[in-house]
Symmetry: D2
Subunit: 314 residues, 4 copies
């Protein structure tokens, strides 16, 4: 549905669908939406989603919400990180944070999925095995994050004007990016207590892809093979997690256009740090692909359905 | 001089000089070189430079060496980080590490300058004020480094083939990049004891530019204004250091083609970390520009001579 | 199969297949190849393919050859355009030039398909309707071609080293690119006599995509609506041809990763020229996608099978 | 001067000048402007420049106008190509089209310079020697033009949003780009009669640079050496024209950041066409660099002053 483009062909605005999809945008009608669909994907801006999602739920719909509006469990964090009060905090408890590798069971029964942000997906998957095993010295954790420009959406800003964006590298929103509380919340649930970590996003002159470089000290001495065993065990059977053993390291191009999260790690004996690398396509595993994965789980479809893409290399 | 291209026009291999420079490559003749020059720039690969530099020095030349062969004070580090014994360790003590902002006085009197590596230049300048003031909790230091592809030189490798390099982001040489000991050595000299820090380089799909994101905990509580005062004082009068105050942050395009090092910092109260950003052009302040700056100092010329370029934006 | 990598996992060399394909490279064994396969794709370099293809044919295989070795009907053109005599000219007559939009019938019965080059695919499809209708003043035809860097293959060359390739635009192989005789041959078959046209390739700093800008004067006065009618009629029912009506124009990103050829045209009344634009993904419709399309035709499968990709925008 | 940013530091909006230029934007005051300056550069949008330039001239200023407002001699062309009547057509006759290689003498005496557009600069310089020698069969001329994105200016548009602009190639404004009449006017003056030629601009995913590929048939049979002699003679002594002999061809990176126009040509015996290549930096020789060159001529300064830049390769 589209308010502005109702009646126009989808392919007029997304030309890649020319010759493939005949659909037109229609206006949003709540009752029609609820009746005609099994699940509704809602991809409105942060702060504007709740106003649509709540009526949909109340009318009986199942919703996968791609905004941040239902990701945080504590309503009190919204004013701090999103500059506004949450309009319907009583829905926060039942929303399930839609990261299938951690919450498959809950997702399958949910009527409201808070689809994770792109940075949190890559960050949480990087550290989940260590968090779960209570191995992390949280005071030591630094997440240095790098994202392609599509992470910023389609809105025009000077910073994303091609001549000011290509052949450039910079950090932004330092030190308070709004994805931090999501990461801390979910890793905290695994670890048993909420961490306070550093997260610094950077802009890479490419379209898609996120790479997280996570620096961690452990609370216990482990070898690199121990760590690999831990990760292999934790992610056993996961279709969309690929563990790349040394000498391999994740590269964003390996996951481009796919729902994979590629992970690798190194134990640096000199400094005593574990360095974990995590790569996803911010628009797929970091957004719509993960939403489809969640839908598959809810609808009891094969989890990989519609998601078995191969990265177009080169 | 060039062994392979002797007799050919420089502009044939560096077409940007067409119509500007008529010079031809000549073969290298040690005595002629020493007689006809005031200073010799030596830009041979690591491990091959010492064999030329030592005879030049013995024949009375002054040399600015752009390789790593004279950067480390401890000969014992060469086998560990460069996989070979140092051929002439007795020259290491007199070589001056050519970072003018730290060693202007020594440079002015030196006959052998070890011109710093690109990553070390940006890394050391980022932390020097804190190191000198003994404010750094060294166990906390993480340097997350990002570089354009020209940092890898002109040699052909699959990883730098355009279709495998563009639209991609990855880490490399984890966790043992050969620039680490330089960084630790020089920060250690300032701090009074050699640190052991994490340094992870990444490859950015752009030609030029390095951005260092440095994470540091302090040994003493300071405010952000205190930190700015410290940096302003430390770099007072430096022509090539620009301190970018909030909300500004360094971007590699601001220093592209220039000898500037742009610095900024944030104090993150949530995590108690200082985050310092440092940007240079790896081919200018990170290599040849710094070499010219060193020459200017040695020859008692204005330090900015030939180095007042403006970044070509956009 | 691979001579050098036999026994190694395909995913080691093509990391996008990690977790998706378990296959290993095997050595090439002619009899095993013929027995175990319905069709063999042969993607050897030009000049090296015939030596493998001929024995395969003689052993009873059907072959889709992606090299240029069987594309030209006149053996005499090989020395002129490829600098070598053709080793087995007696196979040239039976080879079918595998452009399904023009030769579907012949392809379906062939045992040897000469899969078209990337530039010829885009060029021929741009002008085929006009050629067939005998409307072209051939002396007027200029094909100005632009290609992404992947068109040059995976071999390392200075010209494709990222720092020398990005942020740059240039022409190459002027005026004698080896794809010219293919274009002239196939348009000549349609037109009834062999044309002699200008074709100039350029290198675009992007990975994939070809855009052809074709300038043509007509032998008869037509309006733009007449021309659109001609193109619509000619390409009626073609799954992989998309005609983009004004104000739309082809963009390479619309076809990236797909088997589509997007076409548009304008009639310029001022100059009396028709300008036709044609965009393909050089690696898909310009190579392997078209090969699969040919296989589908030969094997009597739905022609779109395995080829219904959507361009990953943005 | 700046209306919106008056009182703010120039370096705030053009960060490359940080530490180099202390100037602030001031409001525009006509009388102050005329009194305090020798020459005024006017870089307003097309259609808005005349309203400022005319009062400046009337107050006695010399003006170099970078807009299109005074480039066309026939006022009647403005409604056709720029969709508006010209407000002060009586100034068109005295405006000098500021292409120094063609009009050095007139420029030196002018009070109003119409600084040429970027495409016209590259196009006219490509064909000027042939036009002057009356060798061109004008009906045959095709100019296929490619430009980096900075040619579109700093205004935000969806088409220049990084994710929709990188890794893409397309044509635009077909067949009626507003630079066509400039090109035809100036070549017509040289040739003795106004041509009508095809000109198609394309967008290259890079920041700076224009490459023109010009296709021409001659009215007389000439060899390639004849043509080179013609070009060498025509451009003898020109500081900013570089003729690149075969096998060399212009590349936009060779002129990036410089005021050079690199030219090369090939005579294609097969088709009887001459193909001329012309490369400039659209922001330098195509705009501000040429404006400075014009200023130098008017002020009787060395023509190269302030313009001897070397392209930053790689």
């Amino acid at each position: 549905t589209s308010t502005t483009h109702a009646g126009r062909a989808v392919a007029d605005f997304h030309p890649q669908f020319t010759g493939l999809i005949d659909a037109e945008f229609s206006t949003f009608d709540l009752h029609e939406a609820v009746e005609k669909t099994d699940i509704i994907f809602c991809a409105l801006p942060h702060g504007k989603s709740a106003a649509i999602v709540v009526p949909l739920l109340e009318a009986g719909a199942k919703v996968i919400d791609l905004s941040a509006d239902f990701r945080l469990k504590e309503a009190g964090l919204y004013p701090q990180w999103y500059n506004q009060e949450h309009p319907s905090p009583h829905f926060l408890p039942e929303a399930v944070y839609g990261l299938p590798e951690l919450k498959r069971e809950q997702i399958s029964k949910a009527r409201l999925i808070a689809n994770p942000g792109c940075y949190p997906t890559a960050s949480i998957l990087a550290l989940a095995p260590l968090a779960k095993a209570k191995l992390v010295d949280w005071k030591s954790v630094v997440l240095d994050a790098k994202s392609g420009v599509s992470g910023a959406g389609r809105s025009l800003k000077q910073a994303f004007h091609f001549p000011e964006c290509t052949e450039n590298f910079k950090a932004y929103k330092v030190p308070n990016h709004q994805h931090i509380p999501e990461i801390e919340q979910e890793l905290g649930i695994l670890a048993g207590s909420r961490p306070c970590l550093s997260f610094t996003p950077h802009l890479v002159p490419m379209v898609r892809g996120i790479l997280i470089t996570a620096y961690v000290r452990l609370t216990k001495e482990l070898t690199e093979p121990d760590l690999w065993e831990l990760y292999e065990h934790f992610y056993e059977g996961e279709s969309f997690i690929r563990l790349l053993k040394p000498p391999r390291l994740p590269e964003t191009r390996f996951v481009m256009g796919t729902n994979f999260c590629d992970l690798s790690l190194r134990y640096d004996q000199r400094t005593g740090r574990v360095i974990v690398f995590s790569a996803i396509d911010n628009l797929v595993k970091g957004a719509s692909g993960q939403a489809v994965q969640n839908m598959n789980i809810i609808c009891n479809l094969p989890e990989e359905q519609g998601l078995k893409h191969v990265a177009p290399l080169p």
